[in-house]
Symmetry: C2
Subunit: 333 residues, 2 copies
Protein backbone atom coordinates (compact mmCIF):
# COMPACT_ATOMS: atom_id res chain seq x y z
CA UNK A 1 0.00 0.00 0.00
CA UNK A 2 1.55 3.29 -1.13
CA UNK A 3 0.14 6.17 0.87
CA UNK A 4 1.39 9.32 2.57
CA UNK A 5 0.23 8.40 6.07
CA UNK A 6 1.63 7.53 9.47
CA UNK A 7 -0.79 4.94 10.82
CA UNK A 8 -4.04 3.71 9.24
CA UNK A 9 -5.72 4.17 12.62
CA UNK A 10 -5.01 7.91 12.75
CA UNK A 11 -5.39 8.93 9.09
CA UNK A 12 -8.74 10.68 9.45
CA UNK A 13 -7.83 12.50 12.66
CA UNK A 14 -4.53 13.70 11.21
CA UNK A 15 -6.18 14.77 7.95
CA UNK A 16 -8.81 16.72 9.91
CA UNK A 17 -6.04 18.47 11.82
CA UNK A 18 -4.47 19.44 8.50
CA UNK A 19 -7.80 20.69 7.18
CA UNK A 20 -8.28 22.82 10.28
CA UNK A 21 -4.85 24.47 10.13
CA UNK A 22 -5.21 25.01 6.38
CA UNK A 23 -8.53 26.87 6.64
CA UNK A 24 -8.69 28.58 10.05
CA UNK A 25 -10.75 31.48 8.66
CA UNK A 26 -13.51 29.22 7.36
CA UNK A 27 -13.86 26.24 9.67
CA UNK A 28 -12.90 24.65 12.96
CA UNK A 29 -12.65 20.97 13.79
CA UNK A 30 -13.77 19.44 17.05
CA UNK A 31 -12.54 16.05 18.12
CA UNK A 32 -14.22 13.33 20.12
CA UNK A 33 -16.59 13.34 18.35
CA UNK A 34 -15.11 14.67 15.10
CA UNK A 35 -17.13 17.48 13.53
CA UNK A 36 -16.13 20.15 11.02
CA UNK A 37 -17.98 23.41 11.78
CA UNK A 38 -17.97 26.76 10.03
CA UNK A 39 -16.20 29.33 12.19
CA UNK A 40 -19.17 31.65 12.60
CA UNK A 41 -21.68 28.91 13.60
CA UNK A 42 -24.28 29.08 14.97
CA UNK A 43 -25.41 31.82 12.55
CA UNK A 44 -28.27 33.75 14.13
CA UNK A 45 -31.68 32.92 12.66
CA UNK A 46 -30.28 30.55 10.04
CA UNK A 47 -31.28 26.94 9.39
CA UNK A 48 -28.24 24.73 10.02
CA UNK A 49 -27.39 22.63 6.94
CA UNK A 50 -25.47 19.51 7.94
CA UNK A 51 -24.12 16.57 6.02
CA UNK A 52 -21.51 13.89 6.47
CA UNK A 53 -20.47 10.40 5.59
CA UNK A 54 -17.42 8.21 5.40
CA UNK A 55 -14.06 9.86 4.84
CA UNK A 56 -12.14 9.15 1.64
CA UNK A 57 -14.43 11.19 -0.64
CA UNK A 58 -12.71 14.53 -0.07
CA UNK A 59 -13.42 17.35 -0.61
CA UNK A 60 -16.91 15.95 0.13
CA UNK A 61 -18.09 16.85 2.80
CA UNK A 62 -15.63 18.83 4.94
CA UNK A 63 -14.37 20.86 1.98
CA UNK A 64 -17.88 22.27 1.56
CA UNK A 65 -18.20 23.71 5.05
CA UNK A 66 -18.42 27.48 5.01
CA UNK A 67 -20.58 30.43 4.14
CA UNK A 68 -23.24 29.57 1.57
CA UNK A 69 -22.97 25.80 1.84
CA UNK A 70 -22.66 23.51 4.91
CA UNK A 71 -22.72 24.64 8.54
CA UNK A 72 -21.15 21.37 9.61
CA UNK A 73 -19.92 18.05 8.27
CA UNK A 74 -19.49 14.75 10.11
CA UNK A 75 -16.55 12.71 8.84
CA UNK A 76 -16.73 8.99 9.54
CA UNK A 77 -13.82 6.61 9.33
CA UNK A 78 -12.75 5.90 5.74
CA UNK A 79 -15.78 4.62 3.78
CA UNK A 80 -17.68 4.26 7.09
CA UNK A 81 -20.78 6.10 8.30
CA UNK A 82 -20.38 8.78 10.94
CA UNK A 83 -21.80 7.88 14.35
CA UNK A 84 -24.99 9.36 15.79
CA UNK A 85 -23.04 11.32 18.40
CA UNK A 86 -21.05 13.04 15.65
CA UNK A 87 -24.25 14.15 13.96
CA UNK A 88 -25.80 15.19 17.26
CA UNK A 89 -22.70 17.24 18.10
CA UNK A 90 -22.95 18.90 14.68
CA UNK A 91 -26.54 19.90 15.39
CA UNK A 92 -25.63 21.25 18.82
CA UNK A 93 -22.71 23.26 17.42
CA UNK A 94 -24.78 24.89 14.66
CA UNK A 95 -28.30 25.18 16.11
CA UNK A 96 -29.34 28.83 16.02
CA UNK A 97 -32.98 28.21 16.85
CA UNK A 98 -34.17 27.81 13.26
CA UNK A 99 -33.66 24.05 13.17
CA UNK A 100 -31.33 21.74 11.31
CA UNK A 101 -31.58 20.10 7.90
CA UNK A 102 -29.65 16.86 7.52
CA UNK A 103 -28.57 15.95 3.99
CA UNK A 104 -28.01 12.20 4.00
CA UNK A 105 -26.53 10.04 1.27
CA UNK A 106 -28.56 6.87 0.91
CA UNK A 107 -26.39 4.19 2.53
CA UNK A 108 -27.96 2.02 5.20
CA UNK A 109 -25.48 2.96 7.92
CA UNK A 110 -25.74 6.68 7.20
CA UNK A 111 -29.53 6.55 7.15
CA UNK A 112 -29.71 4.76 10.51
CA UNK A 113 -27.14 6.93 12.24
CA UNK A 114 -28.51 10.24 10.99
CA UNK A 115 -32.00 9.04 11.99
CA UNK A 116 -30.87 8.24 15.51
CA UNK A 117 -29.17 11.61 15.77
CA UNK A 118 -32.28 13.39 14.50
CA UNK A 119 -34.35 11.74 17.23
CA UNK A 120 -31.84 12.70 19.90
CA UNK A 121 -31.75 16.28 18.67
CA UNK A 122 -35.55 16.54 18.44
CA UNK A 123 -35.75 15.27 22.02
CA UNK A 124 -33.66 18.23 23.14
CA UNK A 125 -35.95 20.64 21.33
CA UNK A 126 -34.22 21.26 18.01
CA UNK A 127 -36.50 20.84 15.00
CA UNK A 128 -34.75 18.53 12.54
CA UNK A 129 -35.62 17.53 8.98
CA UNK A 130 -33.75 14.96 6.93
CA UNK A 131 -33.52 14.56 3.18
CA UNK A 132 -32.11 11.48 1.49
CA UNK A 133 -30.10 11.84 -1.69
CA UNK A 134 -30.16 8.79 -4.00
CA UNK A 135 -29.08 10.07 -7.39
CA UNK A 136 -27.08 7.10 -8.70
CA UNK A 137 -29.01 5.49 -11.56
CA UNK A 138 -26.59 2.57 -11.89
CA UNK A 139 -28.28 -0.05 -9.74
CA UNK A 140 -31.49 -0.44 -7.75
CA UNK A 141 -29.87 -1.84 -4.60
CA UNK A 142 -26.21 -2.09 -3.71
CA UNK A 143 -23.67 -3.48 -1.28
CA UNK A 144 -24.37 -0.98 1.50
CA UNK A 145 -27.69 0.38 0.30
CA UNK A 146 -31.37 -0.41 0.02
CA UNK A 147 -32.51 1.63 -2.96
CA UNK A 148 -30.25 3.83 -5.00
CA UNK A 149 -26.95 5.21 -3.73
CA UNK A 150 -26.20 8.86 -3.07
CA UNK A 151 -23.23 10.11 -5.10
CA UNK A 152 -22.25 13.24 -7.08
CA UNK A 153 -25.66 14.90 -6.77
CA UNK A 154 -24.86 15.46 -3.11
CA UNK A 155 -22.57 18.36 -3.99
CA UNK A 156 -25.28 20.12 -6.00
CA UNK A 157 -27.77 19.54 -3.19
CA UNK A 158 -25.42 20.97 -0.56
CA UNK A 159 -24.62 24.04 -2.67
CA UNK A 160 -28.20 24.90 -3.55
CA UNK A 161 -29.76 24.24 -0.16
CA UNK A 162 -26.82 25.95 1.53
CA UNK A 163 -27.48 29.07 -0.54
CA UNK A 164 -31.17 29.06 0.35
CA UNK A 165 -30.46 28.68 4.07
CA UNK A 166 -27.92 31.51 3.87
CA UNK A 167 -30.66 33.73 2.43
CA UNK A 168 -32.96 32.97 5.33
CA UNK A 169 -35.22 30.26 3.93
CA UNK A 170 -36.90 28.46 6.83
CA UNK A 171 -36.60 24.77 7.71
CA UNK A 172 -39.67 23.62 5.80
CA UNK A 173 -38.67 25.69 2.80
CA UNK A 174 -35.15 24.25 2.83
CA UNK A 175 -36.54 20.71 3.12
CA UNK A 176 -38.94 21.28 0.20
CA UNK A 177 -36.15 22.74 -1.90
CA UNK A 178 -33.89 19.78 -1.07
CA UNK A 179 -36.61 17.35 -2.10
CA UNK A 180 -37.01 19.16 -5.42
CA UNK A 181 -33.27 18.94 -6.08
CA UNK A 182 -33.26 15.22 -5.25
CA UNK A 183 -36.19 14.73 -7.62
CA UNK A 184 -34.33 16.31 -10.51
CA UNK A 185 -30.77 15.04 -10.16
CA UNK A 186 -29.23 11.86 -11.62
CA UNK A 187 -25.68 10.50 -11.75
CA UNK A 188 -23.60 7.57 -12.92
CA UNK A 189 -19.91 6.72 -12.65
CA UNK A 190 -17.22 4.44 -13.96
CA UNK A 191 -14.02 3.06 -12.42
CA UNK A 192 -10.81 2.17 -14.20
CA UNK A 193 -8.94 1.18 -11.04
CA UNK A 194 -9.78 0.31 -7.43
CA UNK A 195 -9.07 2.43 -4.35
CA UNK A 196 -7.21 1.08 -1.32
CA UNK A 197 -8.68 1.80 2.11
CA UNK A 198 -5.78 2.51 4.51
CA UNK A 199 -6.90 0.15 7.28
CA UNK A 200 -7.58 -2.63 4.76
CA UNK A 201 -4.29 -2.28 2.95
CA UNK A 202 -5.29 -3.80 -0.37
CA UNK A 203 -7.48 -2.71 -3.28
CA UNK A 204 -11.25 -2.79 -2.62
CA UNK A 205 -11.86 -4.92 -5.71
CA UNK A 206 -10.00 -6.42 -8.63
CA UNK A 207 -10.23 -5.11 -12.17
CA UNK A 208 -8.35 -6.66 -15.06
CA UNK A 209 -5.78 -4.54 -16.92
CA UNK A 210 -8.25 -4.08 -19.79
CA UNK A 211 -11.47 -3.84 -17.77
CA UNK A 212 -13.60 -1.08 -16.33
CA UNK A 213 -16.62 -1.11 -14.04
CA UNK A 214 -19.63 0.79 -15.38
CA UNK A 215 -21.90 2.22 -12.70
CA UNK A 216 -19.32 1.96 -9.91
CA UNK A 217 -20.26 3.14 -6.42
CA UNK A 218 -18.07 5.63 -4.57
CA UNK A 219 -16.95 2.88 -2.20
CA UNK A 220 -16.18 0.53 -5.07
CA UNK A 221 -19.57 -1.19 -4.92
CA UNK A 222 -20.32 -3.17 -8.09
CA UNK A 223 -22.07 -1.35 -10.88
CA UNK A 224 -24.08 -2.49 -13.88
CA UNK A 225 -21.43 -4.25 -15.84
CA UNK A 226 -17.76 -5.01 -16.05
CA UNK A 227 -16.73 -4.39 -19.63
CA UNK A 228 -13.56 -4.16 -21.71
CA UNK A 229 -11.92 -0.72 -21.76
CA UNK A 230 -13.45 1.48 -24.41
CA UNK A 231 -12.69 4.90 -25.80
CA UNK A 232 -13.89 8.10 -24.16
CA UNK A 233 -16.61 8.76 -26.76
CA UNK A 234 -18.32 5.44 -26.08
CA UNK A 235 -17.78 5.55 -22.35
CA UNK A 236 -19.21 9.04 -21.91
CA UNK A 237 -22.14 8.12 -24.19
CA UNK A 238 -22.90 5.19 -21.88
CA UNK A 239 -23.06 7.50 -18.87
CA UNK A 240 -25.08 10.18 -20.64
CA UNK A 241 -27.55 7.63 -22.05
CA UNK A 242 -28.14 6.03 -18.67
CA UNK A 243 -28.62 9.33 -16.86
CA UNK A 244 -30.74 11.08 -19.48
CA UNK A 245 -33.09 8.15 -20.03
CA UNK A 246 -33.62 7.69 -16.31
CA UNK A 247 -35.31 10.92 -15.21
CA UNK A 248 -35.80 11.35 -18.20
CA UNK A 249 -34.15 14.61 -19.24
CA UNK A 250 -35.71 15.87 -22.46
CA UNK A 251 -35.08 18.39 -25.20
CA UNK A 252 -35.57 21.89 -23.88
CA UNK A 253 -34.40 21.04 -20.35
CA UNK A 254 -31.81 23.30 -18.80
CA UNK A 255 -29.31 21.50 -16.61
CA UNK A 256 -26.29 21.88 -14.38
CA UNK A 257 -23.67 19.40 -15.62
CA UNK A 258 -21.12 18.17 -13.09
CA UNK A 259 -18.20 16.20 -14.51
CA UNK A 260 -16.45 14.63 -11.54
CA UNK A 261 -13.13 12.84 -11.17
CA UNK A 262 -13.16 9.91 -8.74
CA UNK A 263 -9.71 11.05 -7.61
CA UNK A 264 -7.06 9.40 -9.74
CA UNK A 265 -8.28 10.56 -13.15
CA UNK A 266 -6.34 13.68 -14.14
CA UNK A 267 -7.94 16.93 -15.31
CA UNK A 268 -6.57 16.38 -18.82
CA UNK A 269 -8.86 13.35 -19.21
CA UNK A 270 -11.70 14.89 -17.24
CA UNK A 271 -11.94 17.97 -19.47
CA UNK A 272 -11.79 15.72 -22.51
CA UNK A 273 -14.74 13.74 -21.15
CA UNK A 274 -16.58 16.93 -20.22
CA UNK A 275 -16.36 18.19 -23.79
CA UNK A 276 -17.90 14.96 -25.04
CA UNK A 277 -20.72 15.14 -22.50
CA UNK A 278 -21.56 18.69 -23.53
CA UNK A 279 -21.68 17.67 -27.20
CA UNK A 280 -23.94 14.68 -26.50
CA UNK A 281 -26.33 16.80 -24.45
CA UNK A 282 -26.44 19.50 -27.12
CA UNK A 283 -27.32 16.84 -29.69
CA UNK A 284 -30.32 15.94 -27.54
CA UNK A 285 -31.42 19.54 -27.20
CA UNK A 286 -30.54 19.69 -23.52
CA UNK A 287 -29.05 23.05 -22.57
CA UNK A 288 -26.09 23.04 -20.20
CA UNK A 289 -26.69 26.26 -18.27
CA UNK A 290 -23.93 25.79 -15.69
CA UNK A 291 -21.10 23.32 -15.29
CA UNK A 292 -18.56 22.15 -12.73
CA UNK A 293 -15.50 20.05 -13.61
CA UNK A 294 -13.07 18.57 -11.12
CA UNK A 295 -12.36 16.03 -8.37
CA UNK A 296 -15.11 16.83 -5.84
CA UNK A 297 -16.80 13.54 -4.90
CA UNK A 298 -13.93 11.10 -4.89
CA UNK A 299 -13.08 7.60 -3.88
CA UNK A 300 -9.53 7.98 -2.58
CA UNK A 301 -7.10 7.45 -5.48
CA UNK A 302 -9.55 5.53 -7.67
CA UNK A 303 -9.27 6.32 -11.38
CA UNK A 304 -12.63 6.96 -12.93
CA UNK A 305 -15.26 9.64 -13.31
CA UNK A 306 -18.93 10.33 -12.91
CA UNK A 307 -21.45 12.59 -14.55
CA UNK A 308 -24.28 14.32 -12.70
CA UNK A 309 -27.16 16.20 -14.30
CA UNK A 310 -29.58 18.42 -12.42
CA UNK A 311 -32.64 19.85 -14.13
CA UNK A 312 -32.54 23.48 -13.07
CA UNK A 313 -35.05 26.30 -13.32
CA UNK A 314 -34.25 29.96 -12.74
CA UNK A 315 -34.56 29.56 -8.98
CA UNK A 316 -32.06 26.70 -8.80
CA UNK A 317 -29.63 28.46 -11.14
CA UNK A 318 -29.84 31.59 -9.01
CA UNK A 319 -29.08 29.56 -5.87
CA UNK A 320 -26.22 27.79 -7.68
CA UNK A 321 -24.77 31.20 -8.62
CA UNK A 322 -25.09 32.57 -5.08
CA UNK A 323 -21.84 33.38 -3.25
CA UNK A 324 -20.06 30.46 -1.59
CA UNK A 325 -16.87 30.44 0.45
CA UNK A 326 -15.62 26.99 1.38
CA UNK A 327 -12.22 25.31 1.01
CA UNK A 328 -13.24 23.48 -2.18
CA UNK A 329 -15.93 25.64 -3.76
CA UNK A 330 -15.64 29.40 -3.78
CA UNK A 331 -17.12 32.18 -5.83
CA UNK A 332 -18.77 35.55 -5.44
CA UNK A 333 -16.77 36.41 -2.32
CA UNK B 1 -2.86 1.90 -20.24
CA UNK B 2 -6.08 2.87 -18.48
CA UNK B 3 -7.19 6.32 -19.52
CA UNK B 4 -10.39 8.10 -20.50
CA UNK B 5 -9.26 9.14 -23.97
CA UNK B 6 -10.04 8.46 -27.60
CA UNK B 7 -6.67 8.63 -29.32
CA UNK B 8 -3.30 9.56 -27.79
CA UNK B 9 -2.71 11.87 -30.76
CA UNK B 10 -5.76 14.02 -30.00
CA UNK B 11 -5.81 14.05 -26.18
CA UNK B 12 -4.57 17.61 -25.74
CA UNK B 13 -6.79 19.08 -28.46
CA UNK B 14 -9.86 17.32 -27.09
CA UNK B 15 -9.06 18.35 -23.51
CA UNK B 16 -8.63 21.97 -24.64
CA UNK B 17 -12.03 21.81 -26.31
CA UNK B 18 -13.51 20.58 -23.02
CA UNK B 19 -11.77 23.36 -21.11
CA UNK B 20 -13.18 25.95 -23.49
CA UNK B 21 -16.78 24.74 -23.28
CA UNK B 22 -16.51 24.41 -19.49
CA UNK B 23 -15.35 28.00 -18.95
CA UNK B 24 -16.73 30.16 -21.78
CA UNK B 25 -17.05 33.20 -19.51
CA UNK B 26 -13.38 33.16 -18.56
CA UNK B 27 -11.33 31.93 -21.49
CA UNK B 28 -11.29 30.99 -25.15
CA UNK B 29 -9.07 28.49 -26.90
CA UNK B 30 -7.55 29.02 -30.31
CA UNK B 31 -6.26 26.12 -32.32
CA UNK B 32 -3.41 25.86 -34.77
CA UNK B 33 -1.53 27.01 -32.82
CA UNK B 34 -3.17 26.12 -29.52
CA UNK B 35 -3.42 29.02 -27.08
CA UNK B 36 -5.70 29.58 -24.09
CA UNK B 37 -6.60 33.27 -23.82
CA UNK B 38 -8.70 35.16 -21.27
CA UNK B 39 -11.93 36.27 -22.89
CA UNK B 40 -11.38 39.99 -22.42
CA UNK B 41 -7.82 40.05 -23.80
CA UNK B 42 -6.16 42.26 -24.81
CA UNK B 43 -6.92 44.31 -21.68
CA UNK B 44 -6.26 47.98 -22.42
CA UNK B 45 -3.08 49.30 -20.85
CA UNK B 46 -2.25 46.05 -19.09
CA UNK B 47 0.98 44.07 -19.27
CA UNK B 48 0.19 40.64 -20.74
CA UNK B 49 1.29 37.84 -18.42
CA UNK B 50 1.89 34.64 -20.36
CA UNK B 51 3.08 31.20 -19.40
CA UNK B 52 2.92 27.69 -20.77
CA UNK B 53 4.59 24.34 -20.90
CA UNK B 54 3.86 20.74 -21.59
CA UNK B 55 0.34 19.46 -20.98
CA UNK B 56 -0.30 16.87 -18.27
CA UNK B 57 0.27 19.24 -15.33
CA UNK B 58 -3.30 20.56 -15.20
CA UNK B 59 -4.64 22.85 -13.90
CA UNK B 60 -1.20 24.41 -14.62
CA UNK B 61 -1.22 26.54 -16.84
CA UNK B 62 -4.59 26.77 -18.63
CA UNK B 63 -6.57 26.60 -15.39
CA UNK B 64 -4.88 29.82 -14.28
CA UNK B 65 -5.98 31.91 -17.25
CA UNK B 66 -8.36 34.66 -16.23
CA UNK B 67 -8.67 37.94 -14.42
CA UNK B 68 -5.89 38.49 -11.89
CA UNK B 69 -3.57 35.77 -13.15
CA UNK B 70 -2.56 34.76 -16.71
CA UNK B 71 -3.64 36.50 -19.89
CA UNK B 72 -2.70 33.45 -21.92
CA UNK B 73 -1.23 29.97 -21.61
CA UNK B 74 0.48 27.87 -24.25
CA UNK B 75 -0.15 24.14 -23.84
CA UNK B 76 2.41 21.86 -25.46
CA UNK B 77 1.90 18.18 -26.14
CA UNK B 78 1.96 16.07 -22.98
CA UNK B 79 5.23 16.72 -21.11
CA UNK B 80 6.54 18.59 -24.18
CA UNK B 81 7.44 22.27 -24.57
CA UNK B 82 5.07 24.54 -26.48
CA UNK B 83 6.38 25.72 -29.84
CA UNK B 84 7.59 29.27 -30.53
CA UNK B 85 4.57 29.96 -32.75
CA UNK B 86 2.23 29.13 -29.86
CA UNK B 87 3.99 31.63 -27.63
CA UNK B 88 4.11 34.22 -30.39
CA UNK B 89 0.37 33.78 -30.99
CA UNK B 90 -0.23 34.23 -27.26
CA UNK B 91 1.66 37.52 -27.31
CA UNK B 92 -0.27 38.72 -30.35
CA UNK B 93 -3.62 37.80 -28.79
CA UNK B 94 -2.92 39.62 -25.53
CA UNK B 95 -0.71 42.56 -26.50
CA UNK B 96 -2.39 45.75 -25.36
CA UNK B 97 0.60 48.00 -25.97
CA UNK B 98 2.12 47.60 -22.49
CA UNK B 99 4.29 44.63 -23.41
CA UNK B 100 4.33 40.99 -22.44
CA UNK B 101 5.95 39.15 -19.55
CA UNK B 102 6.77 35.50 -20.21
CA UNK B 103 6.95 33.24 -17.15
CA UNK B 104 9.06 30.27 -18.17
CA UNK B 105 9.71 27.07 -16.22
CA UNK B 106 13.36 26.15 -16.49
CA UNK B 107 13.41 23.26 -18.95
CA UNK B 108 15.76 23.48 -21.91
CA UNK B 109 13.02 23.15 -24.54
CA UNK B 110 10.79 25.74 -22.88
CA UNK B 111 13.67 28.17 -22.48
CA UNK B 112 14.66 27.90 -26.14
CA UNK B 113 11.14 28.13 -27.53
CA UNK B 114 10.06 31.04 -25.35
CA UNK B 115 13.32 32.81 -26.25
CA UNK B 116 12.67 32.38 -29.95
CA UNK B 117 9.12 33.62 -29.52
CA UNK B 118 10.34 36.64 -27.54
CA UNK B 119 12.69 37.57 -30.37
CA UNK B 120 9.93 37.23 -32.95
CA UNK B 121 7.57 39.36 -30.86
CA UNK B 122 10.19 42.05 -30.20
CA UNK B 123 10.82 42.19 -33.95
CA UNK B 124 7.18 43.14 -34.49
CA UNK B 125 7.44 45.90 -31.91
CA UNK B 126 6.08 44.31 -28.71
CA UNK B 127 8.35 44.79 -25.70
CA UNK B 128 8.87 41.37 -24.09
CA UNK B 129 10.53 40.37 -20.84
CA UNK B 130 11.12 36.80 -19.71
CA UNK B 131 11.58 35.42 -16.21
CA UNK B 132 12.83 31.90 -15.51
CA UNK B 133 11.41 29.99 -12.56
CA UNK B 134 13.74 27.32 -11.12
CA UNK B 135 12.43 26.61 -7.63
CA UNK B 136 13.09 22.86 -7.32
CA UNK B 137 15.87 22.32 -4.79
CA UNK B 138 16.10 18.58 -5.47
CA UNK B 139 18.91 18.45 -8.02
CA UNK B 140 21.34 20.85 -9.73
CA UNK B 141 20.75 19.59 -13.27
CA UNK B 142 18.15 17.18 -14.57
CA UNK B 143 16.99 15.13 -17.53
CA UNK B 144 15.52 18.03 -19.50
CA UNK B 145 17.17 20.90 -17.65
CA UNK B 146 20.42 22.76 -17.20
CA UNK B 147 20.18 24.18 -13.69
CA UNK B 148 17.24 23.68 -11.41
CA UNK B 149 13.75 22.73 -12.61
CA UNK B 150 10.68 24.93 -12.39
CA UNK B 151 7.88 23.28 -10.41
CA UNK B 152 5.24 24.30 -7.83
CA UNK B 153 6.59 27.82 -7.34
CA UNK B 154 5.27 28.59 -10.81
CA UNK B 155 1.72 28.85 -9.47
CA UNK B 156 2.73 31.39 -6.81
CA UNK B 157 4.67 33.37 -9.40
CA UNK B 158 1.72 33.44 -11.81
CA UNK B 159 -0.72 34.50 -9.09
CA UNK B 160 1.42 37.29 -7.66
CA UNK B 161 2.66 38.75 -10.93
CA UNK B 162 -0.83 38.38 -12.42
CA UNK B 163 -2.24 40.45 -9.58
CA UNK B 164 0.37 43.16 -10.05
CA UNK B 165 -0.26 43.36 -13.79
CA UNK B 166 -4.00 43.58 -13.15
CA UNK B 167 -3.34 46.60 -10.91
CA UNK B 168 -1.45 48.35 -13.68
CA UNK B 169 2.17 47.64 -12.78
CA UNK B 170 4.32 48.27 -15.86
CA UNK B 171 6.49 45.72 -17.66
CA UNK B 172 9.71 46.52 -15.81
CA UNK B 173 7.87 46.51 -12.50
CA UNK B 174 6.28 43.13 -13.24
CA UNK B 175 9.66 41.70 -14.28
CA UNK B 176 11.33 42.97 -11.10
CA UNK B 177 8.51 41.57 -8.99
CA UNK B 178 8.77 38.21 -10.76
CA UNK B 179 12.50 38.09 -10.12
CA UNK B 180 11.91 38.78 -6.42
CA UNK B 181 9.38 35.92 -6.22
CA UNK B 182 11.79 33.55 -7.96
CA UNK B 183 14.52 34.59 -5.52
CA UNK B 184 12.37 33.70 -2.51
CA UNK B 185 10.59 30.49 -3.54
CA UNK B 186 11.76 26.90 -3.11
CA UNK B 187 10.08 23.50 -3.68
CA UNK B 188 10.65 19.78 -3.51
CA UNK B 189 8.49 16.78 -4.35
CA UNK B 190 8.20 13.04 -3.95
CA UNK B 191 6.63 10.32 -6.10
CA UNK B 192 5.06 7.08 -4.93
CA UNK B 193 4.02 5.94 -8.42
CA UNK B 194 4.87 6.82 -12.02
CA UNK B 195 2.61 8.60 -14.53
CA UNK B 196 1.86 7.19 -17.97
CA UNK B 197 2.10 9.55 -20.93
CA UNK B 198 -0.75 8.71 -23.37
CA UNK B 199 1.38 8.53 -26.51
CA UNK B 200 4.01 6.43 -24.73
CA UNK B 201 1.55 3.99 -23.23
CA UNK B 202 3.63 2.76 -20.33
CA UNK B 203 4.81 4.25 -17.03
CA UNK B 204 7.54 6.89 -17.31
CA UNK B 205 9.72 5.04 -14.81
CA UNK B 206 9.71 2.00 -12.57
CA UNK B 207 9.34 2.17 -8.81
CA UNK B 208 9.29 -0.91 -6.61
CA UNK B 209 6.19 -1.65 -4.55
CA UNK B 210 7.97 -0.37 -1.43
CA UNK B 211 9.96 2.46 -2.97
CA UNK B 212 9.52 6.18 -3.42
CA UNK B 213 11.52 8.77 -5.34
CA UNK B 214 12.57 11.78 -3.26
CA UNK B 215 12.98 14.98 -5.25
CA UNK B 216 11.01 13.78 -8.27
CA UNK B 217 10.53 16.12 -11.22
CA UNK B 218 7.06 16.85 -12.59
CA UNK B 219 7.85 14.78 -15.69
CA UNK B 220 9.15 11.91 -13.61
CA UNK B 221 12.79 13.03 -13.83
CA UNK B 222 14.97 11.34 -11.21
CA UNK B 223 15.32 13.08 -7.87
CA UNK B 224 17.87 12.90 -5.10
CA UNK B 225 17.33 9.38 -3.93
CA UNK B 226 15.17 6.34 -4.29
CA UNK B 227 14.39 5.14 -0.79
CA UNK B 228 12.11 2.65 0.95
CA UNK B 229 8.59 3.91 1.71
CA UNK B 230 8.48 5.80 4.98
CA UNK B 231 5.76 7.31 7.11
CA UNK B 232 4.33 10.74 6.46
CA UNK B 233 6.14 12.37 9.40
CA UNK B 234 9.57 11.41 8.06
CA UNK B 235 8.70 12.06 4.45
CA UNK B 236 7.36 15.56 5.07
CA UNK B 237 10.35 16.31 7.32
CA UNK B 238 12.66 15.39 4.43
CA UNK B 239 10.92 17.85 2.13
CA UNK B 240 10.76 20.63 4.74
CA UNK B 241 14.42 20.17 5.69
CA UNK B 242 15.60 20.30 2.09
CA UNK B 243 13.53 23.37 1.25
CA UNK B 244 14.17 25.34 4.42
CA UNK B 245 17.92 24.77 4.43
CA UNK B 246 18.26 25.76 0.79
CA UNK B 247 17.18 29.41 0.74
CA UNK B 248 17.56 29.27 3.77
CA UNK B 249 14.27 30.16 5.44
CA UNK B 250 14.90 31.27 9.02
CA UNK B 251 13.00 31.90 12.23
CA UNK B 252 10.86 35.00 11.88
CA UNK B 253 10.23 34.51 8.17
CA UNK B 254 6.65 34.73 6.98
CA UNK B 255 5.82 32.37 4.16
CA UNK B 256 3.13 31.16 1.81
CA UNK B 257 3.01 27.35 2.10
CA UNK B 258 1.72 25.43 -0.90
CA UNK B 259 1.05 21.72 -0.33
CA UNK B 260 0.53 20.21 -3.76
CA UNK B 261 -0.73 16.83 -4.91
CA UNK B 262 1.01 15.44 -7.98
CA UNK B 263 -2.40 14.20 -9.13
CA UNK B 264 -3.02 10.72 -7.77
CA UNK B 265 -2.56 11.48 -4.08
CA UNK B 266 -5.98 12.08 -2.53
CA UNK B 267 -6.87 15.12 -0.41
CA UNK B 268 -7.13 12.92 2.69
CA UNK B 269 -3.39 12.26 2.52
CA UNK B 270 -2.54 15.75 1.30
CA UNK B 271 -4.22 17.49 4.25
CA UNK B 272 -2.51 15.04 6.59
CA UNK B 273 0.85 16.01 5.08
CA UNK B 274 -0.05 19.69 5.19
CA UNK B 275 -0.70 19.50 8.92
CA UNK B 276 2.73 17.98 9.45
CA UNK B 277 4.41 20.67 7.34
CA UNK B 278 2.73 23.44 9.32
CA UNK B 279 3.89 21.87 12.58
CA UNK B 280 7.48 21.49 11.40
CA UNK B 281 7.59 25.09 10.20
CA UNK B 282 6.12 26.36 13.47
CA UNK B 283 8.83 24.45 15.36
CA UNK B 284 11.41 26.39 13.34
CA UNK B 285 9.76 29.72 14.07
CA UNK B 286 8.62 30.17 10.46
CA UNK B 287 5.18 31.76 10.27
CA UNK B 288 2.79 30.35 7.69
CA UNK B 289 0.87 33.48 6.70
CA UNK B 290 -1.08 31.94 3.81
CA UNK B 291 -1.55 28.43 2.52
CA UNK B 292 -2.87 26.56 -0.49
CA UNK B 293 -3.60 22.82 -0.49
CA UNK B 294 -4.64 20.79 -3.51
CA UNK B 295 -3.73 19.24 -6.87
CA UNK B 296 -2.51 22.28 -8.82
CA UNK B 297 0.85 21.37 -10.40
CA UNK B 298 0.40 17.76 -11.31
CA UNK B 299 2.02 15.01 -13.27
CA UNK B 300 -0.98 13.22 -14.77
CA UNK B 301 -2.11 10.48 -12.36
CA UNK B 302 1.21 10.24 -10.48
CA UNK B 303 0.84 9.65 -6.75
CA UNK B 304 3.02 11.96 -4.76
CA UNK B 305 3.21 15.49 -3.45
CA UNK B 306 5.37 18.56 -3.29
CA UNK B 307 5.87 21.41 -0.88
CA UNK B 308 6.59 24.98 -1.94
CA UNK B 309 7.59 27.82 0.37
CA UNK B 310 7.69 31.47 -0.64
CA UNK B 311 9.13 34.10 1.69
CA UNK B 312 6.50 36.80 1.59
CA UNK B 313 6.48 40.40 2.79
CA UNK B 314 3.35 42.56 3.09
CA UNK B 315 3.47 43.43 -0.60
CA UNK B 316 3.56 39.81 -1.76
CA UNK B 317 0.81 38.79 0.68
CA UNK B 318 -1.34 41.64 -0.55
CA UNK B 319 -0.86 40.52 -4.16
CA UNK B 320 -1.58 36.92 -3.16
CA UNK B 321 -4.84 38.06 -1.54
CA UNK B 322 -5.89 40.13 -4.56
CA UNK B 323 -8.99 38.97 -6.45
CA UNK B 324 -8.50 36.18 -8.95
CA UNK B 325 -11.02 34.53 -11.24
CA UNK B 326 -9.72 31.52 -13.14
CA UNK B 327 -11.02 27.97 -13.55
CA UNK B 328 -8.74 26.58 -10.84
CA UNK B 329 -8.07 29.50 -8.50
CA UNK B 330 -10.79 31.91 -7.56
CA UNK B 331 -11.38 34.32 -4.76
CA UNK B 332 -12.52 37.86 -4.10
CA UNK B 333 -14.86 37.90 -7.09
Amino acid sequence: MKKIINDPATVVAEALHGLAVAHPERLRVTTDPAVIVRTDAPVAGKVAVISGGGSGHEPLHGGFVGSGMLDAACPGAVFTSPTPDQVQAAVTATDAGAGALLLVKNYTGDVLNFETAAELAEATGTPVRSVLIDDDVAVADSTFTAGRRGVGGTLLLEKIVGAAAERGTDLDGCARLAASVVAGVRSMGVALTAPTVPHVGEPSFTLGADEMEIGIGIHGEPGRARVPLEDADRLVARLVDAIVSDLPFVAGDRVILFTNSMGGTPLLELYLAHGIAERLLAERGIEVARRLVGPYVTSLEMQGMSLTLLRADDQLLDLWDAPVCTPALRWGM
